[in-house]
């Protein structure tokens, strides 16, 4: 029911309430709240961690692989560094790279998708078929291939992960664009001769923001997993940097004597992924209108 229908008109009636936005609607789902709390916890640890850590993440503080070291909460790792300090230092690079890669990937994918979906023709074919070729290459294998040629660099990680996201986001953005451009307000803009790039930027982009937001959440989750995997495989961040993926790799052989050095980063990455997934799930539910009741 339209919100404007039910009052009879006083001279200047109050505007009916807008339907609540995507974020607001998503917040009403319990899963979104749970996700935000979980992700918030991990992010706080990652950001505040370096300031709270009792020791340097790279200096040895005791004998290697021991759990009962004085003044150390979770003991030491393979070369005697404080596990807790390394854990507190190891998050922000991971999260930073993940967010950067996801943002870049979603932005590039949105541009490709909108251009392909709106301009159509041979450009659409070219972009989407190229996209299909990129998609056919497994994300991780591609990253490993390029990294083994150029060498592990932080900017390269961002670029590769962002790039592999872009091709996936482009498909979603193109589909969303096709739905939007069927509507008459696009034709209206064409009829007055609004330049194509402005139609794409001001008429189409704001109307596909919901699926893009969902994609962003999803891509952050994937990035976290990918970066952690790359680090674990030795192609991500390099020692002696403190990094969760790297920590897992360094300490997996000693997991029976020093479980904390693996359990802490694994737990953090798992929580981050689950939490981000819950948020994304809430967003996508809100954007397709599951559980929306009758309001007014």
């Amino acid at each position: 029911m339209s919100t404007a229908t039910l009052e009879t008109a006083p001279a200047d009636p109050p505007a009916p309430r807008r339907r609540s936005g995507l974020l607001h609607a998503a917040w009403r789902h319990g899963r979104t709240k749970a996700g935000v709390i979980i992700v918030g916890l991990v992010v706080v640890v990652a950001i505040a961690g370096p300031f709270l850590s009792p020791y340097s993440p790279t200096e040895p503080v005791g004998p290697p692989n021991s759990t009962g070291v004085e003044e150390s909460l979770f003991g030491t790792d393979g070369i005697g560094r404080d596990v807790f300090s390394r854990f507190l230092h190891g998050g922000y690079t991971l999260i930073g790279i993940a967010v950067l890669a996801a943002l870049g990937g979603v932005a590039a994918g949105a541009v490709i998708g909108i251009v392909a979906g709106y301009l159509r023709g041979w450009l659409d074919e070219f972009l989407m078929r190229t996209n299909d070729m990129v998609l056919a290459f497994p994300q991780l294998v591609l990253a490993l291939l390029v990294m083994s040629i150029i060498g592990p660099q932080v900017w390269l990680i961002v670029l590769l992960i962002g790039g592999s996201h872009a091709s996936r986001v482009a498909r979603v953005a193109r589909e969303a664009t096709l739905k939007v451009i069927e509507q008459d307000f696009i034709k209206s803009a064409e009829a007055i001769g609004l330049p194509r790039w402005r139609i794409m930027a001001t008429e189409i982009l704001p109307n596909i923001s919901s699926p893009l937001l969902v994609e962003l959440g999803l891509r952050i989750t994937y990035s976290v997993g990918l970066i952690a995997t790359l680090s674990f495989l030795g192609m991500g961040l390099q020692p002696p940097t403190a990094d969760w993926g790297l920590m897992i790799n360094e300490n997996r052989v000693a997991v029976t004597v020093q479980p904390w050095a693996v359990a802490l980063p694994v737990g953090a990455v798992a929580l981050l992924t689950i939490g981000a997934n819950l948020i994304t799930d809430g967003l996508s539910r809100a954007s397709i209108g599951i559980d929306r009741g009758v309001e007014e």
Partner: protein, 562 residues
């Protein structure tokens, strides 16, 4: 099976449907969508349920099948079909009753028929739902098939095997709707609920479908509830009329009484809003001297290789309204889009104020684009939902006419001319009703002070009462000297707004002339059929404002009428 017609079909006094104090509320806000509805329909009669969008008529229609839309719930009241209560039964029992005791014909037959099933499967499925009392076994295929053929004959469709093998997409819209009707009647229901079943059909098809519905309900002794926003259709069809407004039945009575002497002011307003087919009494205007503002000669347009328009000649003068009348597929939208530069594949001469217009809007000068503006059919899709009304109006203005010295003045003037309060500038489209959205579309188009306004079916997505206000608004614009190219399928509307009319049929203009001449003396058989099939009724209680050329505008008094 045919001997199993309802035993009391001869007894038309028997009540088929009784609704008592029915209330449906929406969750979680507990808004009453319909409140305390009481209705009664006898066998063989049709109750017309009239109201605007949002009045709760579809909610009521669905609750007659004990079905509720998402997040709604029947909280009070009783429904009984031929004395059997419908509410308070288990899901299974209700399912048994649907199709046998009560059936539903939806608005869009295309979405109601399963596109993957042949008609034979589709129609016999309606009978297979379970054995009706005394109807023998459900799996009795030859008898089921006999019944399918019988009911197809009754709705005037072929009953041969070739037809039964068809899929829904191989049928026309009218045929699909008749299949839906056949499907509803196949189980001899006591009650049939029809939710605007002719909205998507052109008038000739609509006339056939309405006839079929009328005849079937009489023959079967089935009670019908016909939901519609169009008084003219209901007036032709219904025995009783119930008028719904904001979830309440505000008036109920025999159709003739309601039409002749409406008791409730809302009913009177609805009746006055119906554009009546005016076949006489048009002033014969003098042919104005001077050149036409828009001159189309020998226009030919294609979609791919298929020609959709041929040999189109049209003139529109300043201050004149020329109607393009045609049914879906006649090419009228293609023609209007060619003029505005949205359809590029056409040949022929399109002159605007003496200068040729390029096929694509992007090749035209900003001045040409400013002077020809277009209003779209569907107000729900024509406004960018992410922009405020103010930006919706200003953006085209700035693009075509440059940065104004006082942007607020531009917005306010446009809104005022479209009969909207200035405060609406800060709203988003979703805070507006359909009629208000269409006014914003009009405001956006007239903000740039165009000379020619192309209106593509701009009222067809709106309720009749809102349509009347929009038409009034267009008239005022025309009085200010604006030329209109008014595209429509509604001949009654044409007779009330246009000075000249071009009747389009299958891509060609079959009749072109002054409205008075065409309406009173149609030359072409197609035009005659259109006039004959348009539902119409005599407005006896007062004069329709749409009939008069000059009148006090009711528009500003009720800007939120929808």
């Amino acid at each position: 099976m045919s001997n199993q017609q309802p035993a009391n079909s001869g007894n038309n006094e028997h009540t088929a449907l009784e609704v008592d104090g029915l209330t449906v509320v929406g969750r979680p806000s507990d808004v009453e969508i319909i409140s305390g509805i009481t209705l009664r329909v006898r066998r063989g009669e049709i109750l017309g349920l009239v109201g605007e969008s949002g009045s709760g008529k579809t909610t009521l229609g669905l609750s007659l099948l004990a079905h509720c839309k998402r997040a709604t719930e029947i909280t009070a009241g009783a429904i009984s079909l031929s004395g059997t209560p419908l509410l308070g039964r288990t899901e299974n029992e209700v399912r048994q009753m649907r199709g046998r005791s009560v059936a539903y014909i939806p608005q869009s037959p295309a979405s109601a028929l399963n596109p993957a099933l042949r008609l034979r499967t589709q129609l016999s499925e309606a009978l297979h739902a379970g054995p009706a009392p005394g109807n023998g076994t459900a799996g009795d295929t030859p008898r089921v098939l006999d019944r399918v053929r019988e009911v197809l004959r009754e709705v005037a469709l072929p009953d041969d095997d070739a037809f039964l093998k068809r899929y829904p997409h191989q049928l026309s819209g009218g045929q699909q709707q008749r299949v839906a009707i056949a499907m509803a009647f196949i189980g001899y229901p006591d009650l049939i609920v029809l939710d605007e079943p002719t909205t998507g059909l052109d008038v000739t098809t609509q006339a056939h479908v309405l006839q079929t519905i009328r005849r079937m309900t009489r023959d079967y002794g089935t009670a019908g509830v016909y939901i519609s926003h169009d008084m003219a259709v209901v007036a032709d069809l219904a025995d009783d009329i119930a008028v719904m407004y904001q979830g309440d039945v505000v008036e109920r009575g025999a159709a003739n009484d309601v039409l002749a002497a409406p008791q409730h002011p809302y009913t009177a307003r609805l009746l006055r809003a119906v554009p009546l087919l005016k076949t006489g009494g048009h002033a014969e205007p003098e042919e104005e001297p001077g050149d036409a503002l828009l001159r189309v000669r020998g226009l030919q347009a294609n979609y791919g290789s298929a020609p959709v328009l041929q040999n189109i000649d049209i003139d529109v003068r300043r201050g004149q309204c020329v109607a393009l009348l045609g049914e879906s597929g006649s090419g009228k939208t293609t023609l209007s889009r060619s003029v505005v530069g949205l359809h590029h594949r056409f040949t022929g001469e399109v002159l605007f104020d003496g200068e040729a217009l390029a096929p694509s809007s992007y090749r035209r000068t900003a001045e040409q684009r400013r002077r020809v503006q277009y209003i779209f059919q569907n107000p729900y899709e024509a406004l960018n939902p992410r922009k405020r009304v103010r930006d919706l109006i200003l953006a085209p203005y700035i693009h075509l006419a440059g940065q104004p010295t006082d942007p607020d003045a531009v917005v306010h003037e446009a809104l005022e001319r479209a009969a909207l309060p200035a405060a609406y500038a800060e709203r988003f489209p979703e805070q507006l009703s359909g009629g208000e959205r269409q006014r914003v579309s009009i405001a956006r188009a007239i903000a740039t002070k165009p000379d020619l306004l192309i209106c593509d079916e701009i009222t067809s997505a709106l309720d009749v009462s809102v349509q009347a206000e929009i038409v009034q608004l267009l008239r005022n614009l025309q009085d200010d000297g604006m030329a209109l190219l008014f595209v429509t399928h509604n001949i009654a509307l044409v007779s009330n707004i246009a000075q000249k009319v071009a009747v389009l049929n299958k891509g060609e203009i079959v009749e072109y002339g002054h409205v008075g001449t065409v309406m009173s003396d149609p030359r072409h058989s197609y035009t005659r059929a259109l006039i004959a099939d348009t539902p119409d009724f005599e407005l006896s209680f007062s004069e329709s404002p749409l009939h008069r050329t000059i009148q006090a505008p009711p528009v500003k008094a009720a800007p939120r009428a929808e």
